[in-house]
């Protein structure tokens, strides 16, 4: 059996909050490497979420590095 990772060890999309069990798009934002589920979510983060919420736009669950 390959190593089992429980879901609390997996990242959430930095915009929508969906669990990412595999893959994703990594992007540098506000000093963090954040994982997103899609280009659409990257765009929503850049054009709505980050301008509106500032540092609070970055969820700890989305930071991968």
């Amino acid at each position: 059996m390959t190593l089992y990772r429980e879901v609390n060890e997996m990242p959430r999309c930095g915009s929508c909050g969906k669990l990412l069990t595999s893959g994703g798009i990594e992007a540098e934002r506000r000093g963090h490497a954040i994982l997103f589920c899609s280009e659409q979510c990257v765009r929503v983060f850049d054009t709505y979420k980050e301008p509106r919420y500032g540092d609070a736009a970055v969820w700890p669950e989305s930071i991968v590095r």
């Binding site: 959430r12 929508c16 969906k18 669990l19 709505y48």
Partner: protein, 598 residues
Amino acid sequence: MTTTPTDKRIVTDPFLLEIIRNNLITTCKEMGIAMMRTSYSPMFNEALDFSCVVFDGRAEMIAQAPFIPAQIGSTVHVVPTAIAEIGAENLSPGDVIFTNDPYRGNCHLPEFVVIKPYFRDGEILAYTANIAHMTDVGGMVPAAFGDHENMFQEGIRFPPVKIYEADREVEAIFRILISNVRTPKASYGDMKAMIGSLYLAERRIDELLDRYGRDTYEQCCEDIKNVSERLMRAQIASWPDGEYSAEGQLEDDGVVPDRPWKIKGTLVIRGDELIVDFTGSDPQCFGPANQTFGTTASSAYNAVFHMLPSESEIPYNHGCYRAISVIAPPGSIVNVNYPGSSVGGNSDTHPTTVDILLKAFSQISERSSAADGGTCGCIGFGGDDPRTREPYAHLHLEGVGWGGRNDGDGNDAQFVKNGNCANTPIEVAETRYPFLNIEYQLEPGKVGHGRHRGGFGTRRIFRFLSDGVHISSHTNRHRERAWGLFGGEAGTNTVIAFRRKGETEWVRAREAFGTASYGKFSNVVMNAGDEMLFVTPSGGGYGNAFERDPELVLVDVADELLSAKDARESYGVALDGNTVDLAETAVLRSSAGGGGRS
């Protein structure tokens, strides 16, 4: 402002596109009929709590039919997530993926999801999928709904696994599954019915490809989605740009007494794009009322689809969802973190979330509706049936009153907005389970008054025929009522109460059993001859009740849903026998402030 232009050209001949699109929708419907006819549990063959969908080779939905909105919306996430986790490259013809993991895009633990890749020429060109509410999933209560504090108490969880390989059962998975539920025979039969529907769909897609060829099929898959995206974006663009927020609350979580939980939804309309932002909602609760991400996304889609004009012909598929983005903060009541409980988030929080978003939509459209009963009425019964000497588990669903809307009254006794479920007929329930229905009717006199009144709830009394009936519940609106809209009045509350054999007084769960909540509790025990009362909530009213057509008030009085006193006091309508006294009605309404009622 158009922020995300859709310039994807539609290539397929429009007539051919409609033929193939409808062929795929019919396939979904046929899957559902097969499921209904071959399943074992009333949950499937009577309540119809399942949904059948077809995805293309990119794992994007291309067809659905009018099944359960909550389930269908979550398949947008759980199906591609499960496929990605297993890896499409690891799938072979005859494989079937199974999962019920609530954290991986699914609605909640009882929703079982099976997915089958369709291969042609060695490549995956489609996925057929079925999501269905399994009656029992093990856990601490029969039929899954109660006052759980974590997912482990809810039942057995499967991350995505193969349950079929090369058309053969993976026996270990089946053995683990059926040895962990109270109804192994029915659960096995229900799983086979679900998987059987996938094989049926595969045959239909095969026939479609034989007739039209792979290139046409694949182009149609893209065009089907692009047409929907174009239409959905046009609809969103017709709404005024801006941000529109609304809040609402759940009355409790079943664990902490009297502690309400806030949900906040903000609609951000930017040209042809809609963002549904749930930032500002409360942290996740301690009980099972949390929504998973899949449930929250699904509730957002559900609300948007409710706002489409009745003449809208937008085909529901992946293209619709492209235009809608969701923001659901992890660890909040709209995006539960492991191992938080979420079984009631799909049944009761989902419809409440939809109503909150409709309240936000009411700022830009009169098409929005008042709130509905906000609960699926999930009550689980279980124990040992003395007739069969086997354990049983039954999930009872009940209709509620819907909110009044701009073009009519709320529906009476209809399943809430997250589903299209039917109730289980009394004859079926009484044949299968050891209880009787002593009374079942619309609950008269209790409704949210309005120009278009809310729908009426129901009143039902069960009498139990055996000792040791374990009853659990996840229901809502025992204290919070469905709100009215545009001057309409709030609906009325849910009531669950118990009466021991020979007693006359009804006693609610908190007083009778010391539960934390009136509506969320686990394993209260009733015995032969004991009874349970279940009154479901009515919907909120829409518009000022004193502007209601007096003839409609008269009809409600004639139907014994309202009294003449209700007509006079709540609607300003005076009756003279079987007719409206127009003169006195005019006086009553004018004396209330020129048609307004304070």
